[in-house]
Amino acid sequence: MGGAVEAKEKPNENPILWVARPMATAAKQFAKSLVRPSTIVYPFERLEDPKFRGKVAVESGRPIGVGEVWDNYRGVHALNIATCISCNLCAFSCPDLCIDMVTVPGGDPKHPKKCPQIDYGKCSYCGFCSDACPEGCLTMTTRYELSVTKRADMVYSPERLHEVFRSKLPMNPIRLARPENEDAILLDPPLCIGCNACARDCPTQCITMLDVPKPDAKPGEKLPKRIWKEPVVNDSDCVRCGTCISVCPKECLFWGTRK
């Protein structure tokens, strides 16, 4: 019992006030929230509903929740299947490897059309994919509601992403500007066998196979037997997706800076 704590009370204050003041405060709060408590009944109402515009404000600055969601909010993706060129850049750029390119109807049998399917269980919402998308068909929207009951529902097929696109949500407008002549596709001519794989698989059809003059053989050199065609890349149409590099059987295409 030695160290009994002695209560330190302000001697000049009326003890009745210790009870009365907080009770008055509570009564004031009660009267205020009797009309409408600050709670927003979330699944039925949302902060971005027009009726909350300007009413529910967070005091510091202009955060999400002043009746709107930020324009560059990175939520669920929207995919416009019609403009997707199956360039695979979104899947390449994804740091979480959550994007699979799956076949969607619309391509021809030789060149199936492939569109991104996103696993939101893995996605980190970094937005690299929509930055990388050359056609602007994969963007991020302001939709933030992702709760599902089954894990399989976390995977959004291209069709579901297209549904999001059709709901016309505000979309993330950020896109990286692309340098014109950097990282162009270059060719190492002696290796090329003119197989046409790059031109066949190019999503933008910017590669054409052109006849090239047959080089003269030096004395004693044996030239490979081939059709003398070589790919020529139209840099202004190229989206730098690298599909041609990955399909080239002889590894004669590579990234480089065009002189």
Binding site: P22, A26, A27, Q29, F30, S33, P37, S38, T39, V41
Partner: protein, 376 residues
């Protein structure tokens, strides 16, 4: 209306049902079935079942009422999704608790562990059973109802302490000790405040006390006693600011730390049942019970079950006051609690007894509009 009591209703119910059933049987069996002793026994059972249903229903409604009020005090909404305005939320919660396992700690003493909550629950139910809710609720027709009610009320610390000790957990034990200390400290001023009421009303019978308040309610002349009684009730019910035995911040959940499932539901229900009984006692002793002041138009008091209706309105408003206090005040320290209990509350309650005695002997009560009862 005045002849229609809860017991007569259950008696009528049993008689009608049993005669209907007996009429399809031949003579000897019919005679046995319509035996008046059997009728009386069954009527008592039905009466008890009705009381039990009323108490449980009111308790669960009270929890809902607290959740809604507390929500508004905290600038939010209370339960609102299950049922209309969340009325069924507590039934859902109760069902969830009912389904859960009862886990008995390995070191616990089984007898005390199970007997504690059960007896706590039973005494609380007895409490509700002996209080008159309206003139037709004749379960409280004893000359010493008030004494019996307070005696049963003061059982609680013993069984809380038993269950806390047999849980074999340091938090439970500390909570139980605090509970016992607090309840004993506040029992004395509580009883003294009641003595003031008894002096003015001249009876221990709650029904008589209510009828003494026909012309004026006791809260005016006995305001000091009301204050002491409410503070003592808060401590008896272990509600904030006197919820030291269950202080979540320091003792996990106090004396019911080790309880889960149905046993926890017992404690929870009994707690709120005692809160209900506390509010009912305040209404009975100080706020005129089921009566309304004489200047109230007769239309407000003449509809069927008006007595029960107004009684419940008053009870829920008094409980609203307790919720208001809970929403406003912080928890006090143990030393503050005991010092206030022994040093402030007991002198105040003695003062209120003295004032009541002066009021009665100096015949000052007519100042408040009192017409002294002829026998008093």
């Amino acid at each position: 209306m005045s002849n229609l009591t809860l017991f007569s209703v259950s008696d009528l119910l049993v008689t009608v049902l049993l005669t209907a059933i007996a009429s399809i049987f031949p003579e000897p069996i019919r005679g046995w079935l319509t035996n008046p002793d059997l009728l009386l026994g069954l009527a008592c059972l039905v009466f008890g079942a009705l009381l039990l249903a009323a108490s449980m229903l009111n308790t669960i409604l009270l929890i809902w009422w607290e959740r809604k009020l507390l929500g508004r005090f905290m600038d939010r909404r209370g339960a609102m999704h299950v049922g209309f305005a969340g009325l069924l939320q507590n039934f859902a919660d109760g069902f969830k608790l009912f389904k859960k396992d009862t886990v008995q700690p390995r070191e616990a003493d089984a007898l005390g562990f199970y007997a504690g909550p059960t007896i706590y629950m039973v005494t609380s139910l007895v409490l509700f059973g002996i209080l008159p809710i309206s003139s037709g609720w004749n379960s409280g027709a004893l000359p010493l109802t008030l004494l019996l009610a307070l005696a049963v009320f003061s059982f609680a610390p013993l069984f809380i302490f038993v269950s806390a000790w047999s849980s074999n957990n340091k938090y439970s034990l500390m909570g139980g000790m605090r509970s016992a200390a607090q309840m004993i400290a506040y029992e004395v001023p509580l009883l003294l405040a009641v003595v003031a009421v008894v002096i003015v009303a001249g009876s221990f019978d709650l029904t008589t006390i209510v009828y003494e308040q026909q012309n004026y309610w006791f809260w005016g002349p006995l305001f000091l006693a009301l204050l002491v009684f409410v503070a003592g009730m808060l401590a008896e019910m272990e509600r904030i600011p006197f919820d030291l035995p269950e202080a979540e911040a320091e003792l996990v959940e106090g004396w019911n730390t080790e309880y889960g499932g149905m046993l926890f539901a017992f404690f929870m229900l009994a707690d709120y049942l005692r809160a209900l009984v506390g509010s009912i006692l305040v209404v009975l002793l100080f706020l005129g019970g089921w009566t309304l002041p004489t200047w109230v138009p007769a239309a407000f008091t003449s509809f069927p079950l008006a007595g029960i209706f107004w009684f419940m309105v008053k009870t829920y408003l008094v409980f609203g006051l307790f919720v208001w206090i809970r929403a406003s005040l912080p928890r006090v320290r143990t030393d503050q609690l005991l010092r206030v209990g022994w040093n402030r509350m007991i002198p105040l309650s003695l003062l209120s007894v003295f004032l009541a005695a002066v009021l009665v002997t100096a015949k000052c009560l007519p100042v408040f509009g009192c017409v002294p009862s002829p026998g008093g």
